[in-house]
C-alpha cells in the first residue's frame, strides 16, 4: 500500500469523514492485530483490535504527537484492561492463523514448529519484557516510539531489550533441549 498521509487523514476523521476513518482502520488493522496476537491473546486478538479502533475514534480529538505511539499506547491500555479480567491465556494457543502465513517457507513444518516455540516462549516472559519484545522486534518500532509508548527513557529501553532477549533466549534454549530428548 502506498505511504499513507496520516496527518491529512486524521484531520478528516476529526471532521467526521467516514471514508477517512475506514482508510485509517484498514491500513493499521493488520499491525494492531499482530500486536494483539503476540502481546495479549491469540483467541481474542480480533476483538481486542476492534476495541482499539473504537477507542481511537472516541479520543481522536485528544491525539497529538506521533500517531503510531498514540495508537500503540491505546493498544497497550486495552491489553492492560483485558489482563485485569484474567482471561489472557498462557501456553497452548492454536496457531492456525500463523500456519497460513508460513506456507511459503521452504520447510513449512519446521517453520511452524519454530514459530510456535517462539510464541510459547514469549508468553512466558514478564509483562514488561513481552511488551518490549512485541513493540521493538515484532512490530519493528524505533526506540523513541517504544520509549514514548511505555513511558520509559530510551536508555531504559536499551537495557530492557537486552534483558528481554536474554530471557527469551534462555527459555528457547530450554525448549530446544526438551525437543532433543
Amino acid at each position: 500500500m502506498d505511504e499513507l498521509d496520516v496527518d491529512s487523514l486524521l484531520k478528516k476523521v476529526r471532521k467526521g469523514d467516514a471514508e477517512a476513518l475506514a482508510v485509517l482502520c484498514e491500513y493499521f488493522y493488520p499491525q494492531v492485530l499482530k500486536y494483539m496476537y503476540y502481546r495479549a491473546d491469540a483467541a481474542s486478538a480480533e476483538d481486542l483490535t476492534g476495541e482499539v479502533f473504537l477507542r481511537v475514534l472516541r479520543h481522536i480529538g485528544e491525539q497529538s504527537g506521533s500517531f503510531i505511539a498514540w495508537l500503540y499506547r491505546i493498544a497497550a491500555n486495552v491489553v492492560t484492561d483485558y489482563a485485569r479480567t484474567g482471561k489472557i491465556r498462557q501456553k497452548g494457543q492454536t496457531n492456525k492463523q500463523l500456519t497460513k502465513s508460513t506456507v511459503d517457507s521452504k520447510n513449512p513444518a519446521d517453520a511452524v514448529g519454530r514459530h510456535i516455540d517462539i510464541y510459547n516462549a514469549i508468553v512466558r516472559l514478564t509483562d514488561d519484557q513481552r511488551e518490549l519484545i512485541t513493540l521493538k522486534f515484532i512490530q519493528g518500532l524505533s526506540n523513541a516510539d517504544v520509549a514514548e509508548i511505555t513511558g520509559r527513557s530510551e536508555g531504559a529501553i536499551r537495557g530492557l531489550q537486552f534483558r528481554a532477549l536474554s530471557a527469551l533466549r534462555f527459555i528457547l534454549s530450554g525448549e530446544e533441549k526438551a525437543h532433543e530428548h
Partner: protein, 251 residues
Amino acid sequence: MGKTPEEALRQYPDVADDIRPLLATACELQKLPGPSASVSALIRTMTKLSVQQAGTETIAQRRKITLFSRPVLVRVAAVILIVSIAGWTTVASSAQALPGDLLYPIKLFSERVRFFLAVRQENKAQLCIVFAEERVKELVKRHSEGGGLNKRLLAAMLNEAKMALDASIELPEVSRGLLNSRVASLSQFQKYTLEQLEKRASPKEKQDLKTYLDICCLRCCWMQERIGGSEPDLAKPQSEQRQGCWDMCPK
C-alpha cells in the same frame, strides 16, 4: 540501530560471542508472521465504528440545534446566507440539510456533481457508500426530530448501496475485495440502524420498515456468504445469485 547483525558483531568483537545468539533471536522475532485478518472481524469493527460515529454526530447536531432554538430563525439565517454569499458557501451550508429543508435539493445536486466528476470507478463506488451512509444519517435525524419515516430516504439508502456493489464489478480483484468488505459493513450498519428505528417506531411505521429491514438482512447474509467463500461470483453480472436481495430496491 540500523546495522546488520554482522556489522554489530564486527563493531563489538570482545562481546561478539555473547551477543551473537541474542542477535539471532532478534532476527527471528523480526521475521515472525502476523495472523491473517479475517474479513468478518474487519467488517464487525467497521460496523461498530460507523455506529459510534453516527451516534457522535447526532449528539453534536442536537447541541448545535440548541443555539437556534426556534426553527423560524434557522430558516431565516439560511435564506440570508444564500442571498449574501452564493455558490460555494451555499453548497457548504447545505451539507447538514434534511429532506424538506430549503437547501436539501442543493445538497443532492452537489452529491451528483461529485459523482459525475469522479473519474475512477473505485472513487465512484466509494462515493456511493458515502452517500448511502448519509441517507442513513438523514433518516435517523429526521425520525428523531419527529419527522416520521421517510420512505424515499429508505429507498435511496438501499439504491446507493446497490450502485456501490454494481460499480465494484469492474474493479480489479484487490480493489473489488476491499470495496466488497465496505459494502458488507454498510449493509450491517443499515440493518443495525433500521433495527434501532424499529424499536422506536409506531405500529404503522414498523409495518413500513419491515420490507426494508428484510432486504437489509438478506443483503447482510448474502455479503457474508460471498466474502467468506472463494472469489467472485460477484464478478458475474447476470449471476442468478445476484438476483433477489440486491435487485429488490423499492422505488
